[in-house]
Homo-oligomer: 119 residues x 2
Amino acid sequence: MREPLPADMFDELCPSTLNPIRFGDKWAALIIRCLEGGPRRFSELRLPLSRVTPKVLTTSLRNLERDGLVTRTVLRGAHVEYTLTPLGRSLLEPLDAACTWAEEHWDELLDARESHQAS
Amino acid sequence: MREPLPADMFDELCPSTLNPIRFGDKWAALIIRCLEGGPRRFSELRLPLSRVTPKVLTTSLRNLERDGLVTRTVLRGAHVEYTLTPLGRSLLEPLDAACTWAEEHWDELLDARESHQAS
DNA sequence: CGGTATCCACAAGGATACTG
DNA sequence: CAGTATCCTTGTGGATACCG
C-alpha cells in the first residue's frame, strides 16, 4: 500500500513554495513530489493541492506530460492515472537537493527579507 | 585576474534557460552564475545578459538582494559591485545540480516536446 | 556609470460554473 | 471522475527613453 497523500501541502512554512527555488511552473515541483510514491489519480492530486483549481492543475499536468516527465494513462471506468516517467523520476534528485537547500536556509531567507523590510 | 564573462550567454542551446528548471525569477540563475567567479559591476553583468533590459536586471538584482543572496556595494567613483553572499554562494550547489540535470537530459526534453508536437 | 521613468503586452494563474 | 469553458486579474517581463 502506498502512503496516503497529506491533506494539505500548503503549510505556509513549506519551503517548496518559496522563491528563489522553482521548478517548472508554479505547481510543477509539488506535483512531482506528489507522484514520487507512485501513480496518482486526478482526484488524488486534488487533495493535497486543494488550492489549485482543476483548470490550473490540468494545465500543469499537461506541461509535465509535454516535457516527458509524466504520463497520463486512461484506465477502464473513467479513471485516469498520472505516473512519473524515468525522466521525471530522475528529476527528483536535483529537486530534492533544491528542497533540502530551501529547508536548511529557510530561516536565513526569512531573516533577510525581514531586515530588508526594515531598511 | 578573474575570468572575463562570456559575451553572450543566450545560446539557444543553453539548458539553463529551459523549463522545467528555474531558480527564482527568470534571470536569477544566470545572474548567480555570473557572480560565481567574484564581484561584478552592473555594466559587467549587462554584457553576458545583453538581452535583459537594465530595468529588468535591476529588478532581478534587487530581488536577490532582498533575499540575502547578493549584496550591493557602492564604491568610490560612482561604481557599484554585486557580490554573492555566503547564502547566495550556498545556492550554487543545488543550482549546479539542476543545471547538470538539464544538460544531461536536454535531448530527452527536446525529443519529448517534439513527439508531443507530432501527436 | 548605474541606473529610473513610463508605458505596454502577454502569459500565467485564478474564480466560477458547467459537462461527457 | 476528470476534467472544460469563460472570464478576469495580476505579475512579470520587455521597449524605449531619459537622468544624476
